[in-house]
Symmetry: C2
Subunit: 182 residues, 2 copies
């Protein structure tokens, strides 16, 4: 891909993330407008709206995966684990699509998004292990149940009428259950 084509692709993806984050039902036209490119350019890179939605989803999942990996290798994996957990839930709250991404990536989404979702789960597992090693998370909690809890908290936070304060108090209860018994 030539440099200007790569540029356009990145701008379209950034715009699509913004536009579809507001509403997955938004038009591809709105994406083209925000990206400052013609609609034909969008369709050259992403033949269908589904292709574009999947690329946005994949990009988000990969970004979260990379972040989890960086945090797992960092200094304070214990604190980082809780920060990351909150961030995923807060992003879900602001942008329903992330939660849907997490829960449905394996069903409706294509190969790329599925791989990215599996990668995120694995990276989250590394972060969890590190946090457990430092004693910040109880050692008997397995990845499957902690991941189910992450998805559940994300879904709980996207429910209508859950204001940020309630969401944070809900997370406080979740974290109290994840910390080692005193």
């Amino acid at each position: 891909m030539r440099a200007d084509a790569r540029d356009n692709r990145a701008r379209i993806l950034t715009a699509a993330d913004e536009v579809f984050g507001q509403s997955p039902h938004a038009s591809t036209d709105a994406v083209a407008k925000l990206a400052g490119v013609g609609i034909a350019t969008v369709f050259r890179h992403f033949p269908t709206k589904t292709d574009l939605l999947e690329a946005v989803l994949t990009q988000r999942l990969e970004r979260l995966r990379n972040q989890a990996l960086t945090l797992a290798a960092g200094e304070n994996a214990g604190r980082a684990f809780y920060t990351f957990f909150s961030q995923v839930v807060v992003e879900s709250s602001a942008k329903l699509a992330i939660g849907d991404a997490l829960t449905s990536a394996g069903i409706a989404a294509g190969e790329d998004a599925r791989k990215a979702a599996a990668g995120l789960r694995e990276a989250f597992g590394s972060l969890l292990s590190e946090a457990q090693r430092t004693g910040a998370v109880r050692g008997d909690a397995g990845l499957p149940e902690v991941y189910a809890l992450l998805i559940g908290a994300s879904r709980g936070a996207t429910t209508r009428n859950v204001d940020p304060e309630v969401r944070n108090r809900m997370l406080g209860l979740v974290y109290a259950g994840l910390r080692p018994a005193a």
Copy 2:
């Protein structure tokens, strides 16, 4: 309503709960067959499929509300609280519709279902208060966040690939957070 008409209505609702519990996309015809009544009888009681779905939803929410109220007035409200929490989550797992009912009742559903959802929340609040009074649930947990957690756990448990064992371990983490600090 005459006794035989009431009878038919109840049978249709029971059949609809079963059929739509399997799939909300099932046909009204399948409901009539299971109920052993003609399709015309179904439409006489429920002019549209939406009416029928809402009646099923309302009935489920009311049943859960009554159960929560009974448990709140019972002997061991502490244990009952956790049993009820698990039951709602397990039912969500088996029948996606309950989870959707809880989260979307206020948006898409009509007046009846909305009232029933509000009634369930209130009854769950009574059960929570009683469980807190007995010391089984930490006293600083408010209804909004505990309810968000209930909805979240239900959604987390309906995710594909969450097997019953993982769901139970996830609930173990949730309950560890709800119990008073040692």
